[in-house]
Symmetry: C2
Subunit: 101 residues, 2 copies
């Protein structure tokens, strides 16, 4: 089971869950109320998000509040940043421009 952040955010439902959790921590039931699929389906998505630490849990009584872990999302940002650098530093771009008549 390879679980990385990229695979976690590949699913639109999981992205929506993350967006919800940026507002405030929520229980699985509260999250599921925003979607038209079963609580269990949402629960499995949360589990995947938890496995790669994009969300963390905090239990109070029988309720479990899940909250977003922004730090983990940095991994995507870091990759994008490296990518951007690599792209911007390519030196054949000038050549392309000069070649056009």
């Amino acid at each position: 089971m390879r679980r990385d952040v990229f695979q976690a955010i590949a699913d639109p439902t999981r992205r929506a869950i993350l967006s919800l959790l940026t507002l405030h921590a929520m229980t699985p039931n509260a999250i599921a109320a925003h979607f038209d699929c079963s609580r269990q389906a949402i629960s499995k998505h949360i589990q995947i998000l938890a496995e790669c630490h994009l969300v963390e849990q905090h239990q109070t009584g029988r309720e479990i509040n899940y909250h977003f872990n922004a730090e983990k999302m940095k991994e995507v940002d870091i990759w994008m940043e490296q990518f951007r650098k690599q792209w911007e530093s390519r030196f054949d771009q000038l050549d392309e421009i000069l070649k056009t008549p």
Copy 2:
């Protein structure tokens, strides 16, 4: 077949292909030479990248050169924007902690 940028970059091989293509445009054969799987497997990855316009093609004779489309990658960046605030504020908090004697 939903094909969005997030699903495209979920696969590590596809991310590696994109990384290669930031350096210069390449043919499927040239790309496949960098991986230990068949040309067809790479070709399918390229097709997925092309479907969501992360790469564009330019045919010259019997060769097809694929090049990276940076514009499309912006979609990820735009989506990430909503989270960036959170970890930046977290940084501020860390500053606060460090400032206290």
